[in-house]
């Protein structure tokens, strides 16, 4: 009896619609968030993440409504974020129906945001999103949608974030994101070793074998992907069956 490895579809939205892009740029429409959420809930996703990648202030009410509509379709946990800058932003997301809040750029600039959220909702509700990009022998933390370096070492930041009260790390490899070349197992293993909280690996997934690798070599607790699920290229149930036959413990819904 132990925790199983989680498969988490991610809905990147412009606030209202699911969009997809390569290396964070060049977006196109990929559907209605609530409809996709309902599908993944039924197909056996273990959790769902919904992000507002535009994160513009004036579209915030639209995003909160999206969270509400998505949550209504789910009987699994929901994480939401994108542009969370204050405790009040976090409250709005939780009130709209999210179980966990992700923070990224604002936390890198003001780590106390993590403690504020953690004190109010508990560490289990605070997910620190780290976008990491290789720079020689280490990884830099990138902010503002992956476009700008925060001049921080990703491993050190992960440890710090946990000390501030993050209960989970959502780790995206900026180098792999959108490439479909496979997860960055080296990065994920390094972060997973460094922190005491669960790590969700993201960026680069295409084949079921990539998922086997990220769980076995990358020692990820969960793996997140977006477009391969939206396209229907990789049905979640088939992915889980593949993982199970390859010695990765997963939850196979009946």
């Amino acid at each position: 009896m132990s925790l199983v490895h989680r498969i988490i579809p991610c809905l990147d939205t412009d606030g209202a619609r699911v969009v997809k892009g390569v290396n964070f740029f060049g977006l196109r429409d990929a559907g209605d968030p609530a409809a996709l959420a309902a599908r993944y809930n039924k197909e056996g996703a273990d959790e769902l993440v919904v992000l507002d990648i535009a994160a513009s202030r004036d579209r915030r009410p639209t995003f909160l409504e999206t969270i509400w509509r998505v949550a209504a379709e789910l009987s699994i946990p929901l994480t939401a974020g994108g542009g969370i800058r204050t405790l009040e932003d976090g409250r709005a997301v939780v009130r709209a129906g999210a179980d966990k809040v992700t923070v990224n750029t604002a936390a890198a600039e003001r780590p106390e945001l993590i403690s504020e959220l953690s004190r109010e909702f508990g560490a289990q509700a605070v997910v620190l999103a780290i976008d990491a990009k290789r720079n020689g022998g280490h990884w830099d933390v990138m902010v503002r949608g992956g476009g700008e370096s925060a001049n921080r070492d990703a491993i050190e930041w992960a440890k710090n974030g946990v000390a501030f009260g993050a209960g989970e790390i959502l780790l995206t490899s900026v180098d792999r994101d959108g490439t479909r070349a496979g997860f960055d197992t080296e990065l994920t293993a390094a972060i997973s070793r460094a922190v005491s909280v669960p790590v969700i690996a993201s960026g680069g997934a295409k084949t079921p074998q990539h998922f086997v690798e990220i769980f076995k070599e990358g020692t990820a607790d969960a793996a997140l992907a977006a477009s391969i699920f939206h396209d229907g290229v990789q049905p979640i149930r088939a992915l889980k069956e593949f993982l199970a036959t390859n010695g990765v413990e997963v939850r196979l819904p009946c």
């Binding site: 989680r6 179980d99 909702f121 289990q124 509700a125």
Partner: protein
Amino acid sequence: MRVTIIDYGAGNVPSVERALQRLGAESHRTDLPESISEAKALLLPGVGHYSALVRALDEQEMREPLLSAIQRGVPFLGICLGLQVLFDSSAESPQLRGLNLLPGKVCALPRTVKLPHMGWNQITPNRESPLLAGIDASAYFYFAHSFAAPDSNGATTATCFHGVPFAAVVEQQNIYGVQFHPEKSGDTGSRLLQNFLRLAA
């Protein structure tokens, strides 16, 4: 049958409401002592810090009506912190008193494993459990917590393991508690809530 949800501001109240709604059950939220006294079935969801729940029970004077309703036999289901508060205290806030309806102290899970214990895990039923009726023994439930109640008390009907064994389900007469989140545990969780509704009817 109408379920009274004790709403002290916990984040999982809307999910619990939705889960009950899907089962066709009527529910309403309250933080008023008099509504708790009149309740026909009580549900206490909870996530976050133990102290937030206990302080709310005391500051909003919900402790006494809650205890007397439970002692009168009103069916009660506690989720996550709602299970933990049934015990006498928690290491998360040692100075605060729990409801003390079940013996033992809630302890931190060991640092030898990743914390929080977050994700889907299986449970081991150790005796007949009306709450788990019809649920496959290999089913998974969604957990998200760092503290847990001892499995050694007489009310534990199923245990889970994360570094140490702990109480996953407690049942004693009209008192029911689950450490996991049935409202987030897919069809399996839904079945458990349905069992509670049936027991409470």
